[in-house]
Symmetry: C2
Subunit: 286 residues, 2 copies
């Protein structure tokens, strides 16, 4: 029987019961799709207990972003998670997470600066702060995140190392539709026409990956290959395309040195809807 904890006391009590059993944590903002469920299944396989959190964290949304219209469907989410044999769902209120005199922030200063961080200046401190709270409340053995949010993964890895959290970050591959579009709760905002055009993100990543596999190491050429494909889509407005160091996320300039991996990533607007996607090619993947 899946427990639903909505208060700090309730999640603490649930965690207390698990004692020294291994705990897998899957933090989400709800409106769950197959990508989330793959994280849950992996957590289920690797741990004695699985806790999924559903919380649309206001601190990681900018003032002009989609907090108020972010899609929610708690009933459906709970049904999906119950089918995956989750032990506890933590779905707190804003008041429980950020009471009136709340005043603490966790800040990672460098890997947060480029890419998403440059466009969404307070996004990652919202993420690192809420994830610190979830780590402290759930004390997981392992925490599961999707590769789709590549910079989030890099930031959280850095935070876990720097603050000495006693847990392992497990990263799961991006789950895609048949036509290559990465699953995202925000895909539901797309019109039929935009939806038809959206696989261009994945196509441009594949083009860059093919060039990389063929030995292309000029980062300008690699970025141009992605941009060419995206620019050909009338309904797409490119926010950025990037070919960066996968650990520091610093943009490569000129030729990528031998033995380096690469993170291809991008953000593209379709109307008001902003989609991101990436592919990570670690060193030795060539």
């Amino acid at each position: 029987m899946m427990k639903i904890a909505q208060t700090i006391d309730a999640i603490r009590a649930a965690r207390e019961e698990y004692g020294l059993e291994s705990v897998g944590l899957v933090p989400t903002m709800g409106y769950l799709h197959e990508g989330h469920l793959e994280l849950v299944r992996r957590a289920r396989k690797e741990n004695d207990r699985v806790i999924v959190t559903i919380y649309v964290n206001p601190k990681q949304f900018g003032p002009s972003e989609d907090l108020s219209r972010y899609p929610r469907d708690m009933e459906h989410d709970l049904e999906l998670l119950s089918n995956e044999n989750v032990d506890t769902v933590f779905a707190p209120s804003d008041e429980a997470m950020y009471p009136a005199d709340y005043q603490t922030t966790v800040i990672v200063t460098q890997v947060t600066q480029p890419l998403e961080g440059a466009r969404r200046p307070t996004h990652f401190e919202g993420v690192t702060t809420v994830v610190t709270k979830l780590f402290n409340l759930c004390r997981p053995t392992r925490a599961y995140f999707g590769q789709k949010d590549a910079q989030q993964v890099a930031v959280l890895r850095q935070m876990v190392r720097d603050l000495n959290f006693n847990l392992e970050i497990v990263v799961c591959p991006t789950v895609r539709e048949k036509d290559g579009l990465a699953l995202s709760s925000r895909n539901k905002y797309l019109t039929a026409e935009q939806r038809a055009a959206a696989p261009a993100l994945h196509q441009s990543l594949r083009a860059a990956t093919v060039l990389w596999a063929q030995g292309e190491r000029n980062s300008d050429t690699l970025r141009a290959a992605m941009l060419d494909i995206l620019s050909a889509v009338p309904s797409a407005r490119v926010d950025y395309v990037s070919a960066a160091n996968p650990t520091t996320l610093q943009e490569y300039s000129d030729t990528v040195a031998a033995g380096q991996g690469i993170l291809f990533s991008m953000a593209v607007f379709f109307g008001q809807t902003r989609l991101i996607d990436n592919v990570l090619l670690p060193p030795g993947a060539e």
Copy 2:
């Protein structure tokens, strides 16, 4: 037999062994005195296991402060702690705590602003960051701090509540010399003449406490009473005297409302040596 852990791996391994036993943590910067030892004794009495950390945290010293000359005597510290039946001492290097690409900070934004925070602008983010690391490494049931660092206690209480650390902050009374001087590792910097004058801090706190007990609620009058005594000491240079709300640390102005507690505190220079002291009178203590 007391364990001495000097690396992240070693303290993790020590903590792992304690499993679900209760753990008392006493974070210190070493050069231990009776004040520290009282924290250790209380921790010993209340927990199955006691971990003491000795680490002069560079991040909580300002650029013009006394980091390089801060007193150290590891051998003597270990002897004292062994006599108190401590289970593990964690004494890491700077490289272990802050490796080359370190980039994460924990910031409490409001209660850090007045008093010590106003004079030492990066001090408390150094404290909250290192204490977060120690909490994650040692996962204490209870963590022990001295009332002498009153603002530190208020800041850490706020951080523990905001970030949902699963532990209790235990505050122990300030330990004093017979003449009232609060014990501090920095007292050793004092010349004989300065040492003879230093009990003025405690005397001024007693004067304010007596006035408070007699019903005085004008905060200007209470501050003036402290300042009068300190100003009469030729070798003392007052940095601040304060009569503040004990939770927010906001300075009281005019009359303190009925049912409020009060924190009297001060910082005073003797030459280059800066001493602090305080007394906390909770609501209902009148």
